[in-house]
């Protein structure tokens, strides 16, 4: 349930903000070849976040373990979400028109380095996934 909410809660807004999904005037999914990799990364980050965050919630609640991994996975998810989401769309326009030059620099950075940032985000999520899987299997075996 949590995984489904996280996946769709990330995938749809990010795809809409990145202009891969349009709902007006018609609902349409449009991925051009030049932006296919970017779309694939959004899909991968949403998928990994949907796996990793619930795993860590399970680890905290059921196994009663303190974990910093959920923080890392959230950082990964947030980096992935912010990269590229603030460029030409309404959020970018709102941020730049409200906060001025500093915001403009930040959005330029997030847009120019969209792919590397999303790859870093995905890398973080993958690392957290493998370490969490390993520790859960060890902890369950002990119990």
């Amino acid at each position: 349930m949590i995984a489904t909410v996280i996946f769709f809660g990330m995938f749809f807004p990010l795809s809409i903000l990145s202009e891969f999904i349009f709902v007006e005037p018609f609902f349409i999914i449009h991925v051009t070849t030049d932006l296919a990799f970017s779309f694939g990364l959004i899909l991968a980050i949403s998928f990994m976040s949907a796996i990793v965050i619930p795993m860590n919630i399970y680890r905290i609640r059921i196994l009663r373990k303190k974990t910093s991994r959920i923080g890392t996975s959230l950082i990964g998810a947030i980096i992935g979400a912010s990269a590229g989401a603030c460029s030409c769309g309404p959020i970018g326009f709102f941020i730049i028109s409200t906060f001025g030059a500093g915001a403009s620099l930040a959005t330029a950075f997030l847009t120019n380095y969209e792919i590397p940032l999303r790859l870093i985000s995905l890398g973080l999520l993958c690392v957290v996934y493998f370490t969490t899987t390993k520790s859960i299997s060890t902890e369950c075996r002990i119990r």
Binding site: I28, C88, G92, S97, A108, N112
Partner: protein, 229 residues
């Protein structure tokens, strides 16, 4: 208590995504719909929704039944995508056949080079090459504020188009069209355009206007235009 903190944080993040991004987007959709309804309710003669005083020259026949008004930024990746994936077919099938014309309005907000690039197109227009310069910018685009649209590069592009270099440099250096770009920005904000690219498709004969937000695929434009013709 410490164990609950990560759960609370993740809950806040999910709530922010689901509770803020989605509702704000759908609020915008509703706003677009209201704007459209408002536009449709205004008689044709009085429909002056958009201030196009400082827009581009018209691309295509001045007497075309349909006008596409594009609000764009030369550093916007999605404008670049629309330019390369959709615009060409619209020009071939509708502009060159006299059914549609295109007007570009600068909504230059992405970084400090965007207004300069927009001014450069109007400087090129002084020498009759607005659309050629417009196209060259979308072929040269490489990101935001990373040098490709600096003043020196803009002057180089003018040389590539064989424009009078001194006249062009004088125009750019004196910021001759800075007020045009600011006026266009204000015009966009006045009609609640808050993203690039955004399009208004006007059917002059039937008094219909449709707003299309984002670099939507060709099929959306074809469907919209064909429903008007």
């Amino acid at each position: 208590m410490n164990k609950l903190i990560p759960i609370i944080i993740s809950g806040i993040v999910v709530a922010l995504i689901v509770g803020v991004v989605f509702p704000s987007y759908f609020a915008q959709v509703v706003e677009m719909q209201e704007l459209r309804d408002k536009a449709l309710s205004i008689p044709k003669a009085e429909r002056q929704l958009l201030n196009l005083d400082h827009a581009s020259p018209v691309l295509g026949s001045a007497n075309a039944q349909i006008t596409i008004v594009e609000f764009g930024d030369y550093q916007c990746e999605m404008c670049h995508s629309w330019f390369h994936n959709t615009r060409g077919t619209i020009i071939d099938n509708y502009v060159d056949t006299g059914k549609v014309n295109i007007i570009f309005v600068d909504l230059a907000f992405l970084g400090s080079d965007s207004p300069i690039a927009a001014q450069a197109t109007h400087c090129a227009n002084d020498q009759g090459k607005y659309w050629e310069y417009h196209s060259i910018l979308y072929y040269k685009q490489e990101g935001i504020d990373n040098g490709w649209a600096s003043k020196s590069m803009l002057k180089e592009y003018a040389s590539e188009l064989k424009l009078d270099s001194d006249q062009f440099a004088g125009c750019i250096d004196s910021a001759k069209y800075a007020s045009y770009i600011q006026d266009s920005y204000n015009a966009a904000v006045a009609v609640k355009v808050s993203a690039t690219p955004t399009f208004y498709v006007f059917d002059h004969e039937n008094g219909i206007v449709e707003k299309i937000s984002g670099a939507q695929p060709l099929s959306v434009f074809v469907k919209t235009i064909d429903s008007m013709l």
